[in-house]
């Protein structure tokens, strides 16, 4: 038996072969993930098409400022993640750790802002089943059932998105620890690249959520 590279499983021929397979695995997993959100997009579209007025009214009550800032935060985190992948493949350890930390920080900032937004939604009685004011919507001549449907999809879609981001942050935490111990080399940087793909995917999903949830109505104000 020839000497095996560190981190190489017995059933792969080489680290390249293994890295290549890991990346394909992540792509296939992302195809699954696409259908996770696909089911929700389908449900959203069915009701959005049927109840446009209720969806517009609900959308107008979301906080576009936080949604917008969060978009910038998340896009920036994708940039730092992409740079981290590059740093890993170049073997620049210190830079890799710093970029991973930056990505972690930006992802957490997104979740923090999202939490603030959820709290505000709750205070504005925008949570069906927990805090929801049917009368107020009737006064606005909007069917509260339709607004409820919009809000349910808003919480499920952003909630599942936030769950994905939380998992991503957890994994990045582990990667950062490993990177700080010099675990990744130019020959063995596939985990960083793999989870980079995942991170970008979660980012892209948000780019679809933003217009569907925050921008479906024509607005006059940002609040």
């Amino acid at each position: 038996m020839p000497v095996r590279d560190r981190g190489l499983w017995h059933h792969f021929d080489s680290l390249d072969h293994q890295a290549d397979s890991n990346l394909l695995g992540m792509w296939v997993f992302l195809a699954t993930e696409l259908l996770v959100f696909g089911a929700l997009f389908t449900g959203y579209s069915a009701y959005r098409w049927r109840y446009p007025a209720g969806f517009e009214a609900g959308s107008r009550h979301l906080n576009l400022l936080i949604g917008g800032v969060n978009t910038v935060v998340l896009l920036t985190s994708s940039l730092t993640m992409a740079l981290a992948v590059r740093a890993a493949s170049q073997g620049r350890q210190a830079l890799l750790v710093r970029l991973l930390l930056a990505t972690l920080f930006l992802g957490s900032a997104f979740l923090g802002l999202k939490a603030v937004e959820y709290r505000q939604d709750y205070l504005e009685r925008l949570v069906p089943g927990l805090a929801f004011d049917r009368g107020a919507w009737q006064e606005l001549h909007v069917n509260p059932n339709h607004v409820q449907l919009f809000l349910i999809f808003y919480y499920v879609m952003t909630g599942i998105h936030a769950l994905h981001l939380t998992i991503g942050i957890g994994v990045l935490g582990i990667l950062t620890l490993k990177a700080s111990r010099g675990h990744f080399t130019p020959q063995y940087s596939a985990p960083v690249e793999m989870w980079g793909l995942y991170w970008h995917f979660v980012d892209i999903i948000w780019l679809f959520l933003l217009p569907l949830l925050y921008l479906v109505s024509t607005r006059t104000s940002f609040y």
């Binding site: 059933h11 792969f12 397979s21 699954t32 109840y51 089943g129 059932n145 339709h146 449907l149």
Partner: protein, 551 residues
């Protein structure tokens, strides 16, 4: 060539007891529970799905016993609802969907493509644990009062009316779904990246093609079911109206999303069986498969078209007439690739040197029963006839012909075909043939009367029925008891074979696949020398004339 026509040659004199194989390489509970060897994980799955099969089987037995008399004297209506729900949920989500991919697929796929393991061994083990968590939760649900919604969980019954364990049940199914997804992911990457040198796509065994197609469905359909159940849980927990018409929700949306998973799931349940049959027929006809590429691509096209036919479950649910027309047409289309397979299998047998060992008996049973199930499926795809027999025993008989007559027969065929490879032991051929015969007869007697019952108008899911249906119901129950004996027999003689002395040798069927070129049971690394592939998978003595596809 005469020796090749009788492939079964038990090699009792071979004494390789000292050779290292995946079973004797390590002992102890830990070496099994923490293994990453796909062969051991396959056996772990074999034990778990067998347990679930018997749980689902007990529920089926009680259902059939209750239906012996028109007044349903065995159980109450409520208990009956819980029994058919338990039977459906356990059999679909915890037996039929995982069984062939996780047991035979897990074990054979790397061997058949000359790989040392699946691409992600730890993910493979994780998927078994995830399956276990789902299965335990499901058993807990069943033994703590059960669930009465049927395996379909239709709203608004499941969201508002039912007072049973709906939430834990759907949670268990979602958990088991993740195990499917991880298995599918593992298979896709393995087929793409770990084929032996020289093993091109068109030299792949057809079982591998069918597992690949199955994996695609698992990957793309399962997440939709998971999200659907998340929405259902939210509706049930917070009383909001996602699928509730009283709150402007749409129950049809539930059915659309449900069948977007559950119809393709039918193909998760049948495609691997088709793959097994495509392995066995050439071996026991001593002849190359007829129309290799057609069979390979028909698997892929079943996977693709299978995603477009879900609406045929909703012809009477209130979908638009135009949607119904399109779904009806597409349902006819999906029959084409299935028919292509049946014709090619038949042509493979033609002028073959056919022998009737146990795997072949099960495989031939598969073809016959699947054909009946498929043809009645065409009847159901016709809009008018569908309305006549909707929600009757005709439907029940139809899908049992596909799932039990098809998939379980296919699974038994595969289990008997590869058992000597998995264990190194040969079972009693006499008992095995007897069990194949009993299962076939019992199956026909159980489900043929149900076609007639359904056509006469007996609805499904009732625990009582009009007295004039009793004779056919008694016939069906009698058949079920024969079928039960048929399923218990393999349990006995397969386990007995483990303690027997009949060693199978590496290639008891004189088959051509890569998996037969390594010792039985295989060594931990699968192959002592990495195989180099230079020809197609079915280079038997007789060629299929006019078929150049596998070259």
């Amino acid at each position: 060539m005469t020796t090749l026509t009788t492939p079964y040659r038990p090699q009792a004199k071979v004494t390789e007891t000292t050779a290292e194989n995946y079973l004797n390489v390590a002992y102890g509970v830990k070496s099994w529970l923490l293994t990453t060897d796909h062969k051991r994980i396959g056996l772990l799955y074999l034990m778990s799905v067998t347990v679930m099969f018997f749980v689902g089987g007990v529920a089926a037995t009680l259902i059939r016993l209750n239906l012996l008399t028109p007044h349903g004297q065995l159980v109450t209506a409520d208990t009956y609802n819980k029994l058919f729900s338990a039977h459906g949920i356990v059999m679909v989500f915890f037996f039929l969907v995982p069984v062939v991919p996780t047991v035979l697929g897990n074990f054979m796929l790397p061997l058949m493509i000359g790989a040392r393991d699946l691409a992600f061994p730890r993910l493979n083990l994780a998927s078994w644990y995830i399956y276990l968590v789902g299965a335990f939760l499901m058993l807990l649900v069943l033994f703590s009062g059960g669930v009465d919604t049927g395996w379909t969980f239709y709203t608004p019954f499941s969201s508002k009316a039912s007072h049973t364990n709906v939430l834990p049940a759907v949670t268990a199914i979602v958990i088991a779904g993740f195990s499917s997804i991880f298995t599918g992911l593992n298979f896709v990457v393995t087929v793409h990246r770990l084929r032996a040198p020289g093993l091109t796509w068109f030299r792949l065994p057809l079982f591998v093609w069918s597992l690949y197609s199955t994996s695609i469905i698992m990957l793309l359909a399962t997440p939709v079911l998971a999200m659907l159940f998340v929405l259902l849980a939210i509706e049930r927990l917070w009383g909001v109206g996602i699928f509730d018409p009283a709150l402007d929700g749409d129950p049809l949306l539930f059915q659309h999303l449900f069948w977007f998973y559950s119809h393709p799931a039918v193909y998760i349940m049948i495609l691997p069986g088709m793959g097994i049959v495509s392995e066995i027929l050439p071996c026991f006809s001593r002849k190359n498969i007829f129309g290799y590429q057609f069979i390979a691509f028909s698997s892929i096209s079943i996977a693709v078209i299978g995603f477009l036919v879900w609406g045929h479950h909703m012809f009477v649910a209130g979908e638009s007439v135009y949607a119904a027309l399109v779904f009806s047409l597409l349902s006819y289309l999906v029959a084409v690739p299935s028919a292509i397979k049946v014709f090619n299998w038949t042509a493979t047998l033609y002028k073959g040197s056919v022998s009737f060992q146990t795997p072949m008996l099960f495989a031939l049973g598969f073809i016959g029963l699947f054909t009946i199930g498929g043809l009645t499926g065409l009847m159901l795809a016709a809009l008018g006839l569908n309305i006549h027999v909707h929600d009757t025993y005709f439907i029940v008989a139809h899908f049992h012909f596909i799932m039990v007559g098809g998939m379980v027969m296919g699974y038994m065929a595969g289990l008997h075909y590869w058992w000597p490879k998995m264990t190194g032991k040969m079972y009693s051929e006499w008992w095995a043939r007897l069990s194949a015969l009993i299962i076939f007869v019992g199956f026909i007697l159980t489900f043929m009367p149900q076609f007639i019952l359904g056509y006469l108008g007996m609805p499904r899911r009732y625990h009582v029925y009009p007295a004039e249906f009793q004779v056919l119901n008694v016939l069906s129950t009698a058949g079920a008891s024969i079928l039960g004996v048929g399923y218990l027999l393999p349990f006995a003689y397969l386990i007995a074979s483990l303690f027997g002395r009949t060693r199978s040798g590496p290639n008891p069927w004189a088959a051509t696949g890569l998996e037969w070129q390594t010792p039985s049971p295989p060594p931990p690394q699968n192959f002592l020398v990495t195989p180099h592939v230079t020809c197609g998978p079915y280079e038997y003595a007789l060629s299929s004339e006019g078929d150049h596809a596998s070259s």
